[in-house]
């Protein structure tokens, strides 16, 4: 091995490993250990109860729906911010990061104030039969909010560096606008869109603060899994809470693995660099 010119390898490696061990791995080890206190029959009773299943379905189904909405909206917004110039563009560009910076509890009560039956938008939506607050749709709205920046921000640098010659070549060869978009642009962006989808999904699955206010938290209807964990903790059912946490972590890791496999498959369309 090459002799290291730069100092501090041993010290930084030791410190980073020790700190990660203490702050990240030890607590997660305690979580896994505690969940093993639950007997297999306990796991089965927990995971097959209608309330747990409904919560998992809402957390994962809602997060996937929200991430999909974010892919569509994010593609449009990133495209407009990169390719078009209009007054206020820089302001809107900065605004995209708001869900990163705004505390989730603040987002939660703000979204509720907007979509509640008496709220700014709720008073028009509810008479139309669209119930957002205190319903599963509200959960999805909050998840879309917290995941919004991921797709836009992963897409922007890729769009900026994408060579327009490819699109121009397609157009000059007689492709229509839609053909250029669906046959040339979209395949090129697909791996990045999937990265953004995965990030938005991971964020939305675990989201708590912005969801619990708008959800109404009706068991088996609009109750998310993290809230179910909190309720089990409040009942001092630590093994059950830990088991539910482990189940959530395993499910989201599997889901993200699946996304990255699809992403790897989609890379075959990328242009050689």
């Amino acid at each position: 091995m090459k002799r290291r010119v730069l100092p501090g390898f041993g010290l930084s490696l030791g410190y980073v490993m020790a700190w990660l061990g203490l702050i990240v791995l030890l607590p997660l080890a305690a979580l896994v250990f505690k969940s093993s206190a639950l007997a297999p029959s306990g796991w089965w009773a927990l995971l097959s109860s209608p309330r747990t299943l409904a919560a998992l379905r809402l957390s994962f189904g809602g997060a996937m729906l929200a991430a999909a909405v974010n892919v569509l909206a994010g593609l449009l917004v990133a495209w407009v911010l990169v390719r078009h110039r209009f007054p206020g563009r820089r302001l809107f560009d900065a605004l995209v990061d708001l869900p990163f910076a705004l505390p989730t509890a603040v987002a939660g009560i703000a979204l509720t104030a907007i979509y509640a039956p008496e709220g700014w938008l709720g008073r028009y939506l509810v008479p139309m039969g669209i119930k957002v607050a205190y319903a599963p749709l509200g959960v999805v709205v909050a998840m879309v909010f917290v995941g919004f920046p991921f797709v836009v921000r992963t897409l922007q640098p890729v769009l900026e560096s994408m060579e327009r010659e490819v699109e121009e070549a397609a157009a000059s060869l007689g492709a229509t606008r839609w053909q250029v978009f669906f046959r040339v642009v979209l395949p090129l962006l697909l791996p990045t869109l999937l990265t953004g989808f995965g990030l938005a999904l991971a964020r939305a699955v675990g989201e708590y603060g912005s969801v619990i206010f708008i959800a109404g938290n009706i068991p088996r209807l609009s109750e998310i899994t993290p809230l179910l964990i909190v309720e089990k903790l409040e009942e001092f059912n630590y093994a059950g809470a830990a088991a539910l946490g482990v189940a959530m972590l395993v499910l989201s890791l599997l889901l993200l693995l699946l996304v990255s496999l699809v992403q790897r498959a989609s890379r075959r369309w990328e242009l050689p660099r």
């Binding site: 730069l6 100092p7 607590p27 910076a101 705004l102 703000a110």
Partner: protein, 277 residues
């Protein structure tokens, strides 16, 4: 053809602006509107109450501890990840990112299972009359966990892109380790570091899920500002909830403004990516 293209363009811009306005600007506006709904007097009265003041102090205290702790960790981890090759590096990187993909509630619960009355170290702590869970140390620990990757993630891509030539030159010319760090490394990463600190601070002050699990919601003792927002909201004190929330929203707006300013001013000194990767 050109007219149709420009119609499509205008439609796309208008739709984007509408999406951004309804989904992002409206929630921000509603916070301030609700906070001042009953006038300035009702708003300021909230901040004369001991609970609100104590929540503000506690939030500042937690951030003042958690952010420097993560600053030291972030700089060290970035030095390690960007300057050395070693076995297991990818795995270590995955562990640094891990807090991003763990639900805040699960993070908080993990600390309860370590330090709570039923936890691994619970009995030991109770014997010595030390409180971690339902006390300030638990709030700090949960916040440190949640914000652990922020600064490291901002620095690693930048330092990788910068390369180590300048630092190696400093060493060859006889600079000591700390001399090299303070004269070469730190000046090269200062804007990205400030940027990371800013984002880390915003999250530290606004963290809700993890902190809510370890706090126990004891008024005047373990309620940070986001928890104070929740408690007031659940007690139907909407003006109070939105007044405290408006301070946090103001912090978010200032963070965004500063971020935009830095991106515009020091664009080439901030690596692409960072937190969004």
């Amino acid at each position: 053809m050109t007219t149709r293209a420009s119609v499509v363009r205008v439609l796309m811009i208008l739709t984007s602006v509408a999406v951004l306005t309804v989904f992002l600007l409206l929630p921000l506006a509603v916070v301030f509107s609700e906070a001042f709904k009953q006038g300035l007097h009702a708003f300021t009265r909230v901040f004369h109450q001991a609970e609100a003041r104590s929540a503000i102090w506690l939030t500042l205290l937690v951030a003042v501890i958690a952010v420097p702790v993560n600053m030291v960790f972030g700089v060290t981890a970035a030095w390690l990840m960007a300057r050395f090759e070693f076995r297991g590096k990818a795995l270590l990187g995955a562990f640094i990112d891990l807090p991003f993909s763990v639900s805040p509630v699960i993070s908080g619960m993990a600390f309860v299972l370590l330090f709570g009355a039923q936890g691994w170290f619970g009995p030991w702590l109770i014997e010595r009359n030390l409180g971690v869970i339902f006390a300030v140390p638990g709030l700090v620990l949960a916040t440190v966990f949640i914000t652990l990757p922020f600064i490291a993630r901002e620095l690693i891509p930048l330092m990788q892109a910068q390369g180590s030539e300048e630092e190696e030159a400093a060493r060859v010319l006889g600079a000591g380790s700390w001399q090299m760090f303070f004269r070469v490394t730190l000046p090269n990463i200062r804007w990205a570091l400030l940027y990371g600190v800013l984002l880390c601070n915003a999250r530290a002050m606004g963290e809700f899920g993890a902190v809510s699990v370890v706090s126990g919601h004891i008024r005047n003792l373990t309620t940070t500002m986001p928890l104070e927002v929740e408690m007031r909201y659940n007690e139907y004190d909407y003006v109070g909830a939105f007044a405290v929330a408006s301070l946090l929203a103001l912090l978010a707006v200032l963070t965004l403004a500063f971020k935009a300013l830095m991106e515009w001013r020091y664009r080439h000194e901030l690596a692409a990516g960072g937190i969004h990767r």
